[in-house]
Symmetry: C2
Subunit: 499 residues, 2 copies
């Protein structure tokens, strides 16, 4: 009984962090969606202050006492264990770093972001280089404080994808790279012509919004516990499982963009809406990891949303709503949304080549963190890899090494999650196909509840209680493998491009 | 130099309160404007937690030390003096009450709100009565702790309208009541017929929104530091002077509602946008009082927005945008928006009779707080006064004594501010007319900057540094008087109704 009471006390403490984090998330959502232009300065100050209060609670002596107390107790249940482990991780992440070094890093990271923006705008890497060098040095230094097992990069990976190692990534990404390059070669030699011209017709925003909202409702995104707004870049956030916010961005001359971003963010959103009430406020009330989260968004966007079965059901609806598609067959529509075209920019990549963009970043980060390459070498290295894997070459660094914000604040180790999402998703699909043999026949009939239920029961209901490696093992009975995704890609594209 | 440093430290402390208050205001804005339905529970918990943190900062020992330190210093400037005085007020307001009594009151007040909602819905005062009795008892008890000078009700008035007393209100409200009743009599005997039928045509929301936005920009509401959204009841909030939010509610079969609510909230919004940067974060970065705030909203809504000059300028614009007004003359439009019709519900009242609704509430509150009437007598008393002053009688308590939320949490002393806003506004107008002799000729030409500038220079720039009584004295050279508003009403309605 004493343990239960003590844990309740701990939960009450965590709840405070949760309240402030939700206030913070709301402030950030609003900043990106509705805030008047000139509100930015006051908002940033407020966010800085509240972040500081969250930080204080996460790293307080009281927090340390809770962690140490519960670490000394042997009979914790899974939730309690995970809650303590999670707090330990956050605690160590900052407390192991000398305070003055951490503060110095925060300063540099913030300036680095501004430098990156300017560098990207002017397509001039030299503006960003000195900042990226400092940020990189800090990260290398911090790994010294944090410690590492095996590869130094493992420590960074662990923040985003607990349990994933360089050894594992080298294996699965190695296989994946080989397969994608091979499939890409076949596609480039295919005689099949895929046109996407129709998507560039005029599609009024309101018309898109109505259709996408209908789609989201149909696949299971709940508008009583969620909403959808517009922002420059689509994103998902939440303030608990009953208040989830996704955003999209409409292009009136590009139909696919908002459509698939809605399904993508909808996948994230459904995950958050499915988190059980009893995890709320434990700091485990989110996805298991960045990669598992991404597996859900990509599942809805690609595995379901870019499948032929999905459009067998929805294409008549498209035809009814959009005269723009008059005369276009389902097959050509389906091919159009699955066209493969190697490109320079990650966020514009198709489903096949997307992972190559990630693998390039992974390979570079790993070398950089281990000191085997230096910041000054990055543009050359970047361009060489794009040339080698994708056959394209940036004409300047803005569409090359400067395209992503992630490195500017030292978020090394983040990128792999995106590609891991693809691998997790396909492996989940393998299991789902066994559990629901007529899965895609159901999709053809518009039955999305069966998918939603499977994801809820197997993945969503656990929140962040289990690490991704445990979760995938429990759900699929296997360790993470690249095979499922590779087979999925091969099956899909061999049909479309007839090879 | 030491004083300056110490005050800076104090300001840094106040800044924390400001950050949390802004987070809270954002959470409340979002709750009323965009929050998904089922987010309410988590949001309320978050708001309760953060409110508690604000309360802690406002009533901490550290706060007491600051207050006592600065109260002992003689050479504070106006801003410092006001900041300390304001903090003392908030500190005493709760600290003078025994903690257990305060906590008990908060519980009762919250349940009382729910009871009021139900009572109003069922038009059954007996549901609300026991709660209102408790809330009233608490307020009477609290006045004992707080102390009072002259009338017990003065203490409550002081929270909303510092410096205003029952003595003063009896004087100005007494004159005002007499005048309104007299003017109302003349109007009811007038042969002039005013039709408002045209306003009930169909006005699509989008069409209204575009026109009202144009209007707001024109009168000076800045959309780079503000926005406008929709909510059930219009309101204004802000998170600093660079992020002000107003809302409105569109009725597609009632043109006037959103139009004048936009001008009203716009007046509040302009006030907040004009607060100078150096008051930000001092807790003086808002209006001088509820009543002064209301004077600004009513100035834009009524004195300017319901003037003939205003529509001489804007009516052609109305004609261009709204075919619904084809064939209606400017004069008839002007009369229509100024039609007087005694009614039961405060928030639907016209400019003339509005103050009578307030005076009734004031008279009742004063008696109730002094124990000269009891809660059980309120419905009868209410109906009698409506009959006497306005000549109308509620058919049930939902459109009578239950119509407003204010009493449910014990906000006695709040109502008078609404009518004070009318008095302040007309008195400001008196001064403004002297300073700008061609004021309304300018309005006719669409020059609203001259008004905005006068309000900014004379009122807005002071934030909450001066109490309303000081402010009105400084700006107009006189104490608060009812004469200006009475003359304004007489002039306006004698022309419209030809008496």
């Amino acid at each position: 009984m004493e343990l239960v009471e003590k844990f309740q006390e701990f939960k009450d403490y965590l709840r405070k962090i949760d309240y402030l984090s939700n206030a913070l998330a709301l402030a950030e959502w609003d900043m990106r969606v509705y805030m008047p232009k000139r509100g930015i300065e006051a908002r940033s100050d407020m966010v800085t202050y509240i972040s500081g209060e969250v930080y204080k609670l996460q790293t307080s002596d009281r927090m340390r006492e809770y962690i140490e107390y519960f670490e000394g107790v042997s009979d914790l249940d899974d939730v309690m264990k995970a809650a303590v482990k999670n707090c330990r991780k956050i605690y160590d992440q900052t407390k192991k770093i000398p305070e003055d070094r951490y503060r110095e890093f925060i300063k540099v990271a913030s300036r680095s972001g501004t430098a990156w923006e300017e560098a990207k705008e002017k397509a001039d890497f030299s503006i960003f280089q000195p900042y990226l060098e400092k940020v990189t040095e800090f990260k290398r230094e911090f790994i010294g404080y944090w410690g590492y097992e095996g590869d130094r990069y493992n420590t960074l990976l662990d923040f985003f994808e607990p349990g994933i190692t360089v050894e594992k990534l080298d294996e699965v990404f190695g296989q994946l790279k080989k397969a994608i390059v091979e499939i890409l070669g076949k596609i480039q030699n295919s005689r099949v012509e895929v046109s996407t011209a129709v998507f560039s017709k005029y599609f009024p925003k309101q018309q898109q919004a109505e259709f996408n909202t209908m789609l989201l409702k149909k696949v299971g995104y709940d508008f009583e516990t969620g909403r959808m707004d517009e922002s420059v870049h689509p994103f998902t956030t939440d303030f608990g499982n009953k208040d989830v916010r996704i955003t999209t961005h409409y292009y009136e001359n590009e139909f696919r963009s908002a459509l698939f971003s809605c399904l993508h963010e909808g996948g994230h959103g459904i995950y958050e809406q499915d988190i059980p009430d009893d995890l709320e406020g434990t700091l485990l009330d989110g996805g298991a990891s960045m990669g598992i989260h991404e597996s859900q968004s990509r599942f809805y966007e690609n595995i379901i949303g870019r499948s032929l079965s999905f459009w067998k059901y929805f294409y008549p609806e498209i035809k009814r709503n959009f005269k723009q598609f008059d005369g276009l067959s389902l097959e050509d529509f389906y091919k159009g949304i699955n066209r493969v075209e190697p490109s320079l920019v990650r966020i514009e990549a198709d489903e096949l080549t997307y992972s190559l963009h990630i693998i390039i970043r992974y390979e570079i980060e790993k070398e950089l963190i281990n000191g085997r390459v230096e910041v000054k070498d990055l543009p050359k290295l970047w361009n060489a890899k794009y040339k080698e894997y994708l056959g394209v070459e940036p004409s300047n660094d803005a569409e090359g090494v400067l395209q992503d914000v992630h490195w500017s604040d030292g978020s090394f180790g983040y990128f792999p999650s995106y590609a891991l999402g693809n691998l997790y998703g396909a492996q989940f699909l393998g299991r789902m196909n066994k559990d629901i043999p007529d899965l895609f026949e159901r999709v053809e009939k518009g039955d999305f509840e069966v998918i939603h239920k499977w994801l809820r029961d197997n993945i969503h209901r656990h929140g962040a209680v289990y690490e991704p490696s445990e979760l995938i093992k429990t759900v699929t009975g296997e360790e993470l493998k690249a095979d499922y995704f590779i087979k999925y890609l091969y099956d899909k594209y061999s049909k479309i491009y007839e090879f």
